[in-house]
Symmetry: C2
Subunit: 294 residues, 2 copies
């Protein structure tokens, strides 16, 4: 799919993802006018100084009026209020997309508020870093990464293809998927790992101070990989867990059962059980390397 040029693109929330997308659009000349909306004055100033948008504003009418593409890139807890604020200013035929990590909730919170004739294409780029804000973004963030789109049945095909073209211009592979299925897959590949990482780093922060300094010192032994994940944006992740509750609690239940079995194997010295699992998990790593996602 060739990327098409948009007349006016509004990016709502110019953080890590929003600003990376701005760099893609800007770098490839895919937006004649590129406007950022952000509630944070510092982020607005940075976005303009970085030269990645033409204009940054906190006025919704200024941002979205006349836009043929609106990209929602705020934490999911703000979706409903953002959609409500933009609805009166959206023109017929405008495309609205988002980058949030839970697609059923995006459809629930945004879909019903958009006026007739506006195309909503929910999206989720499987890419990110533990850094936040407009200065943390970069155009290559999406290179070689998947982007999942979950348009409800009956969505305008031309609108879908324009969003596909945008992500492909960013270097992504695009997959179209059912929203509920997406949420189950991401619960295990993303939400559970983050929850676990936050927990284990939290457990360490509760240690007595002397022990805690040594935890930092000797973190290269496994712990530091968790701290990178657990340094991700707190508000964004709060909203993910609140919005994908059922799927997260379901995989968490499976995880707990498996952890309890391992705990028991350690307590009773069942080395064979431990070795069998530890051998099996090596295979998954090889699959990921083979799939070029390592």
């Amino acid at each position: 799919m060739m990327a098409t040029v948009f007349e006016k693109v509004a990016i709502i929330g110019i953080g890590l993802i929003g600003s990376s997308l701005a760099r893609v659009l800007r770098g490839q000349g895919l937006a004649r006018l590129l406007v950022a909306l952000d509630a944070n004055a510092d982020h607005r100033r940075q976005a303009v100084e970085l030269g990645i948008v033409d204009l940054a504003t906190d006025a919704m009418d200024q941002a979205v009026t006349g836009a043929d593409l609106v990209i929602i890139a705020v934490p999911m807890g703000a979706y409903a209020s953002v959609a409500e604020a933009m609805a009166p200013h959206l023109g017929k035929g405008a495309i609205v997309t988002d980058v949030g990590s839970v697609k059923l909730a995006a459809i629930r919170d945004i879909g019903p508020l958009l006026p007739e004739g506006v195309h909503f294409i929910p999206g989720h780029p499987i890419a990110g870093t533990e850094h936040s804000g407009p200065a943390a973004g970069f155009a290559e963030l999406f290179h070689g990464r998947w982007c999942v789109l979950t348009p409800p049945p009956g969505t305008d095909e031309t609108a879908i293809q324009r969003v596909v073209g945008l992500w492909e211009a960013g270097g992504s592979m695009v997959e179209i998927m059912d929203a509920g299925h997406h949420d189950r897959v991401l619960a295990i590949t993303s939400h559970l790992p983050h929850l676990i990482a936050y927990t284990i780093v939290g457990t360490a922060t509760d240690l007595e101070t002397s022990l805690q300094q040594e935890v930092v010192k000797f973190s290269a032994s496994g712990f530091r990989d968790f701290t990178r994940i657990a340094a991700s944006d707190p508000v964004m992740w709060r909203d993910i867990f609140l919005n994908n509750r059922e799927a997260v609690l379901d995989v968490l239940q499976r995880f707990n059962e498996d952890l309890t079995a391992l705990q028991r194997a350690i307590r009773w010295g069942e080395g064979d059980k431990l070795q069998e699992l530890f051998s099996r998990t090596r295979g998954i790593r090889r699959s990921i390397i083979d799939a070029n996602q390592a």
Copy 2:
């Protein structure tokens, strides 16, 4: 501490750590004769072909007779049998050290079997990768990483300093510590993270096949960091958990309590609790970056 040259060094187990140490010794001319012992014929052949040892053998007498330094770098489950086999061939004044991840167990399994006049200096380099075998090693593995030594009270100071010199030659910072304290610190920084990573990757391998392919495809969202950890050597890790049981079960208990609290917060939609924890964990990441261990 300046590194001193050893007349004959025997490395028992020429895997990732053993072969990396061989490269350090060889690269800096710290051993006049460098011998590897390994039960695996393929590893012996590789070690000689790589040119990182003078000789590779499976005969303990050939390996350790006349050695002034013996480095034990096998999985901890083999410690007692290795120590028993080498004891008759060790000369007075020889230094024996190890690289295992649990120090109380190393002292328990090796210490009593060594003859009078042999110096045992338990050690643990906080370094590694998920790869195994002699070809996976490299001389820079220990650069900028900590190495903990846990010599029991009364250990010969000159022997300790010779082992310190070896690790510093490899680029490590050396810390002398009580063995039990080491085991508690590593239970949280290393053993618990590995246990959790093995569990979550195991949970994913039990998913129905269609979902599993997507877990691989979309692993860039957090999961793949766990798969790297969960690809570590299965036998080595089995032995770590069996040998640091009490400390691991203790931190696992704390982790479980914390995870249950988060699970409850998700179920009841307590966003404030989630955000508070997620904000706190960012601080630990900053400490690790400040300590140059990121």
